[in-house]
Symmetry: C2
């Protein structure tokens, strides 16, 4: 597993160098989307990471946001989101990240959340303590929903009105501690014990696979909204909480809500 982790770190290094080149570069807002800095950076990163995988682990599968799914011959699949939080990247806000996961079958075993501008990297490995920039991190205790600092990315990620209402009324009306604009960075903040809950919908496997080992290795709970383990086949309803004792409370709130 150590060799896989070293390779994943090398991939994150490569991604970061490319992203730093394009971050906050001026560009015409009416430029075609296939020619914007974020689109160029996205595809340049994924191309570079696929080249590394092809050279070092030629039989492994690759599932990336930009260039789709390449089947695995080894049982291992790399799951890549070059820039998670493209809107934050586009406005020059350093809360986006590169997500790199290694799955065995459809189960995430290694996950990296890398923020290349702030130079913050969370590395999660199944069965090991999650580290941020090489130092072990631990989620914090928070057993009371009223104390929880809760995050999501945008109300519009909840595609059905009842899902949105659920998030909105339970998670926003129910607490004054709701923060929006989260992206992958908030899962790092949960792992490091600064934040308590993330609640999202409509995530793709490349959006959440890397988060699983990071949150679990820091002592937190992460699952779909029913409490089932997240795999490459999950539908993308993701809930994470730093204190596993908070999960049963959240689960009851989700079940009780009109759905």
């Amino acid at each position: 597993m150590d060799e896989f982790v070293a390779l994943a770190n090398r991939m994150a290094d490569t991604a970061g160098k490319i992203i730093q080149k394009y971050y906050r570069q001026p560009f015409d807002v009416d430029r075609k989307s296939d020619n914007s800095p974020v689109t160029i950076a996205d595809s340049e990163v994924e191309t570079a990471l696929r080249e590394i995988i092809a050279k070092k682990r030629p039989g492994d599968g690759v599932f990336g946001e930009e260039f789709g799914h390449q089947e695995s011959e080894t049982g291992f699949t790399w799951v890549i989101d070059p820039i998670d939080g493209t809107k934050s990247f586009m406005i020059g806000r350093p809360t986006f990240g590169t997500l790199i996961a290694l799955c065995e079958g459809d189960v995430p075993k290694i996950g990296i959340i890398d923020q290349p501008i702030l130079k913050e990297r969370w590395v999660g490995v199944e069965g090991k303590k999650t580290k941020m920039n090489g130092k072990p991190v631990q989620t914090r205790q928070c057993k009371d929903f009223d104390d929880a600092r809760i995050g999501s990315t945008t109300p519009m990620m909840f595609d059905k009105l009842e899902d949105y209402d659920r998030a909105f009324h339970i998670f926003e009306r129910g607490t004054s501690n709701m923060v929006w604009g989260g992206d992958c960075y908030m899962y790092g903040l949960i792992a490091s014990g600064h934040m308590d809950v993330a609640f999202e919908q409509n995530l793709s496997p490349y959006d959440f696979a890397a988060l699983v080992p990071v949150i679990k290795g820091a002592g937190g709970h992460i699952s779909d909204w029913r409490g089932d383990e997240l795999t490459l086949n999950s539908v993308g309803k993701v809930i994470a909480c730093g204190d596993p004792d908070l999960w049963p409370i959240l689960e009851r709130m989700i079940l009780k809500s009109p759905y």
Copy 2:
């Protein structure tokens, strides 16, 4: 005016040093709110800045988030928000900021947005070019609403349903470029030409006074939702856009919406 700007910069330096001490410090989430790091940092910063003003400009007024309004004997009033974006501060996300404005009468003449973790500071002075870390900045061109990158802090800042609907349907449904979780930092991003529009409600004078010289000095438009100049007497409905040619389009959208 140069002496005022030097004093404002010195105040921002002082604020930043205090905030850096408390940022991401671990604390019990069930600790009383009057004893949380953000509350301590907030009042420690405002106390320090009031001491500087009392020493250097004893007759000036002070209007701060924490300790209220001290009347001016000179015609000048310092308007201070020690930590704008307290929720971002609380979750360890470096997109909050210290806001310092100098008003003559009720009109903002100098504004500073300071992000002490990223060490980014925007300084706006009436009639001068806004600078970020000492370098002149300029908003970018964006004449088409569909191209605009739009930000707000939270949907819940819109207190009446029609206001919320207006923001939500026009500004979110109407564009795929909406970003949440903005706080004062997004006005800096507009000044630097990375973002196009900010749209907020329920801001207090200490939330928006500093933004006015920053946005105007970078070439942008900032006003209340009717297009009137923002002063200490404004009600806190704030709209800013980097390209002044976009404002008449936004104004028509606001007027046309059900209100």
